[in-house]
């Protein structure tokens, strides 16, 4: 069974600070997706990374896929209250025959 561990589970920071959240596994994934979920809503896809070492930027968010495709990180620069939410990573199994594997998420709170 492939598992994804996300850390930290909870993070509370002041507006303007930088932060990094992590998504780790002992298994290799074909791709890694990051989602953000706001209270009372479904998760929304932020980005998909598919190549080992790949870096993608989405405004103040930087996503990296590990060289071995076993881990990923999300770095937020100058966090804003609008970044508050639950960040979920999801890995695509190599076989492609089973659904995505989700981590348990990092709950981020950015205080103004």
């Amino acid at each position: 069974t492939q598992l994804l561990e996300q850390s930290p589970q909870f993070l509370s920071i002041q507006e303007g600070e930088n932060l990094t959240v992590y998504c780790n596994s002992s298994s290799v994934f074909s791709s890694l997706q990051w989602y953000r979920q706001e209270p009372g809503e479904g998760p929304v896809l932020l980005v998909t990374v598919v190549t080992g070492g790949e870096v993608k930027k989405l405004k103040r968010l930087t996503f990296q896929f590990g060289d071995a495709r076993k881990d990923s990180s999300l770095h937020i620069t100058a966090a804003q209250p609008g970044d508050t939410g639950l960040y979920l990573c999801a890995g695509g199994p190599l076989s492609g025959n089973t659904p995505l594997v989700f981590g348990k998420g990092t709950r981020l709170s950015v205080i103004a």
Binding site: S30, P43, L45, F102, K104
Partner: protein
């Protein structure tokens, strides 16, 4: 464009009562469909997924069942609810071609179920 509708948004049901949650997708054909449950704002637990009409895969044995009577309709049911069935239920779809691994999930807005 594709849209996903899930209802109701909120539901309060007594223990032992039946359940039916419905999800429909528009604007795409042959999608993969999913039911997830989320407890206390944490991770997603995959309950069921379907790659086609009448094809249901169950991930976790439990008090729930799923059906896909039409290509873009997915239903989550229970004959008798338990207290432990309370939670936030999310329906999602992804493209049905190219395997699961790189296809993003598109979620509905969820149903908050409280079993009393």
């Amino acid at each position: 464009s594709q849209t996903i509708h899930q209802w109701p948004a909120t539901l309060v049901q007594p223990v032992g009562s039946p359940l039916s949650l419905e999800c429909t997708v528009e604007g795409t054909s042959n999608p993969n469909l999913y039911w997830y449950r989320q407890a206390a704002g944490r991770g997603l637990q995959l309950l069921f997924y379907s790659v086609g009409i009448g094809q249901i895969s169950s991930e976790v044995p439990q008090n729930l069942s799923a059906s896909r009577p039409q290509d873009r309709q997915f239903i989550l049911s229970s004959k008798k609810l338990l207290l432990s069935d309370s939670g936030f239920y999310l329906c999602a779809w992804s493209r049905g071609v190219g395997g699961f691994q790189n296809s993003p999930l598109h979620f509905g807005n969820g149903t908050r179920l409280t079993v009393t």
